[in-house]
């Protein structure tokens, strides 16, 4: 994107060619993720989705805002809390539902489930269940882009807890040392499972920690999708221009428990309520209403659109077949002959 359009986006007030408010896309993107995950809860309760499921409800501004700074050529590597990242990246809701329902039509043919969404066509490289385990892989994707002189960058999402792992440290040093085109997105929701950040890190200013490796690092309000988009665009541009890795700490909060198994007994309800007042969706709606960018019809329209899409998606996903057990051993190794 050019500096001018970036500047306009920064003001967040430009009109798209068709005269609609571009913020509507952001709103739609976040609502879509929110409603998608609410369906996940239903499907989990009905026993159709199993295993570990980690919701990002409350954190939608991160996936939607960051994704605006990415091109289809960029790589994405993420965590088990990745429904939002996958949907924002453009993986159809139907393929993600199907994956969680364990269908062969799922984006990982039902072999991955909620934690392991993949879509190589969209350069979406998962869906990693080992905390910080995706970081070295992302560094390697970035290294390949760099060695080939390709314009792409690699965007890697991870949590605040991941920073305590050795794999974060080793990757941060490697990326800074080799000037890798890596956009490091730390989704700081203040908790690693039940452990608050202050009991996880001696230095809780995570951007400062990252900067100590000699890379540029900013802390951003992760509940304001426009601020997230702005920061992500700036960082992405700098990375593309050869500025080496950039680190963004997006301060956010998860409104739901860590996973479906988590009784969530370690957080003070008042704290949760306080954060819900900063709900990224209401926050954007209010701003758009304030300056006339949105009216009730508009909002209802978006809600309806999303509801219809998700109805269809669940319906289609349910129609997906199951991988026959005869196929169990397929994909352990690439069969001779298949292209690598």
């Amino acid at each position: 994107m050019t500096r001018r359009t970036a500047a306009n986006a920064r003001r967040g007030r430009t009109r798209a060619a068709d005269g609609t408010d571009p913020r509507l896309d952001l709103l739609r993107g976040m609502l879509r993720i929110r409603r998608f995950e609410e369906r996940c809860v239903e499907l989990y309760s009905s026993g159709e989705i199993r295993g570990f499921v980690h919701l990002c409800i409350g954190e939608e501004a991160v996936s939607v805002g960051v994704n605006r700074a990415l091109t289809p050529d960029d790589d994405v590597v993420t965590t088990y809390r990745e429904h939002g990242h996958a949907l924002a990246r453009g993986i159809p809701a139907e393929a993600v539902f199907a994956e969680m329902l364990g269908r062969v039509t799922g984006c990982s043919r039902g072999r991955g489930g909620s934690m392991h969404l993949f879509d190589v066509g969209r350069r979406f490289y998962g869906g990693h269940g080992i905390v910080a385990g995706g970081l070295p892989v992302a560094a390697g994707l970035a290294l390949a882009g760099r060695m080939r002189g390709e314009p792409r960058l690699t965007c890697c999402f991870f949590g605040d807890g991941a920073l305590a792992e050795g794999e974060f440290h080793e990757t941060a040093n490697l990326a800074a040392l080799w000037d890798l085109p890596l956009l490091l997105i730390c989704e700081n929701n203040l908790y690693a499972m039940g452990t608050p950040i202050a009991r996880e890190h001696a230095q809780i200013d995570l951007a400062a920690r990252a900067a100590s490796y000699g890379m540029v690092a900013w802390a951003v309000d992760g509940m304001d999708v426009l601020a997230v988009e702005r920061a992500a665009r700036r960082a992405a541009q700098a990375v593309r221009e050869g500025g080496g890795p950039y680190f963004l700490e997006l301060r956010t909060y998860r409104f739901r428990a860590h996973s479906m198994y988590d009784p969530d007994l370690y957080r003070d309800k008042a704290e949760i309520e306080r954060w819900k007042e900063r709900d990224p969706i209401t926050f954007l709606c209010d701003r758009m209403r304030a300056d006339g960018g949105l009216d009730e019809d508009g909002l209802r329209g978006v809600e309806k659109e999303v509801a219809e899409e998700l109805d269809r998606a669940v319906e289609e996903a349910r129609k997906g077949g199951l991988e026959p057990v005869e196929e169990l051993l397929r994909f352990v190794r690439t069969p001779a002959g298949e292209p690598s």
């Binding site: 199993r50 295993g51 570990f52 364990g102 269908r103 990982s108 039902g110 072999r111 991955g112 489930g113 934690m115 392991h116 990693h128 269940g129 080992i130 905390v131 910080a132 385990g133 807890g161 991941a162 305590a164 792992e165 050795g166 794999e167 690693a192 499972m193 039940g194 452990t195 009991r199 996880e200 890190h201 988590d262 007994l265 370690y266 199951l322 991988e323 057990v325 196929e327 169990l328 051993l329 352990v332």
Partner: protein, 331 residues
């Protein structure tokens, strides 16, 4: 009516583990628990729920996500004379601490010429069966059983969950305890007044004369089911629960095979170069002339455990496969 003993009230495997830790913490001030979310959260699987309130944050220590550091810290604290119980949330994450376990915990005593003992207990959840997919479904007990210098335990029953920890803590050297994720909610009653488990002996969970089903941990239930089904059509299976995966109790294993002349090993780990291979090899080495048929192995398929239910079920040992293997063995 008087003189009647009160019915022991039912407990879960989870509660039995917790009670064992509570007892250890209360009896020995050198004991403390450390790991990710063991405190405020109560443990990823709820095993340590309530212990923080009872024993405080100094002895029930939440750690950062740093498997290598907190396992290594457990080693150091043990060397210094404390008795740490380190919980590594699951075996899947223990790879990040494996250098500390192999190169330090298991090695320091010998490498120092007998000076540095490491009385450390490491607990971890293991196993598949809950649709957690490839990265959260490992059964790597066989890897740990390969390491000289450590003892490896796999409590499969309420009694063992309740009574293995005390002798593990009494062991002057490192002990790794594997808790199968499918067992935490298993509930039953504990025989009152049971004492510490003998950590050198396997247990015959079901005596039988036609074939020995040898297993441990999360597969014990499947083996017992298979034994019932075999009984229905006249095959009398003995079921051995290894309990201690290192060192293996050869006497009990070979004693059983000497009676039945046939053995089926059931292991949720992958087949190649796993624990099942060691059992098959030992039984054949020591019982070659007792065996009427080659040792059968029922293991996990050699595939990263898939999420989809039908695929996961097909990937893991099931009663059906055990029955079929036993039938092949009895020919």
């Amino acid at each position: 009516m008087t003189g009647v003993k009160a019915e022991p009230k039912p407990v879960t495997y989870r509660e039995a583990l917790r009670e064992a830790m509570r007892e250890a913490l209360a009896d020995d001030e050198r004991v403390f628990l450390m790991g990710e979310d063991v405190g405020r959260y109560g443990g990823a699987f709820g095993v340590s729920l309530g212990l923080l309130d009872e024993f405080g944050p100094d002895r029930i220590r939440d750690t950062p996500l740093s498997e290598s550091a907190f396992v290594g810290a457990g080693i150091g604290a043990a060397i210094a004379g404390l008795r740490p119980i380190v919980e590594v949330m699951t075996v899947n994450f223990s790879l990040l601490a494996l250098d500390q376990i192999l190169n330090n915990a298991a090695t320091l005593l010998h490498m120092s010429g007998g000076q540095v003992a490491v009385p450390l207990v490491i607990r971890m959840t293991t196993g598949a069966g809950r649709q957690l997919a490839a990265q959260h479904s490992h059964s790597l007990e066989g890897w740990y059983a390969h390491i000289p210098g450590i003892r490896v335990l796999a409590p499969a029953t309420l009694e063992d969950a309740r009574h293995m920890l005390a002798p593990a803590l009494a062991d002057p050297d490192p002990v790794v305890i594997f808790e199968h994720g499918s067992l935490y909610n298993v509930s039953g009653t504990l025989p009152p007044g049971a004492g510490p488990v003998d950590l050198d002996s396997a247990a015959v969970r079901r005596p039988g004369s036609d074939v020995s089903l040898i297993t441990y941990g999360g597969s014990l239930g499947k083996a017992l089911d298979a034994a019932d089904r075999l009984a229905a059509d006249g095959v009398d299976a003995e079921v051995i629960d290894l309990r201690t995966l290192r060192p293996l109790d050869d006497a009990t294993i070979l004693g059983s095979v000497a009676r039945t002349h046939r053995a089926v090993v059931v292991d949720e780990g992958w087949r190649t170069a796993g624990l099942s291979a060691e059992l098959a090899a030992r039984i054949t080495e020591q019982g070659f002339y007792d065996l009427d048929a080659p040792v059968e192995r029922v293991c996990a398929a050699e595939v990263p455990v898939p999420y989809a239910r039908q695929l996961e079920e097909a990937a893991l040992p099931q009663a059906d496969g055990i029955v079929a293997a036993a039938r092949r063995a009895v020919g």
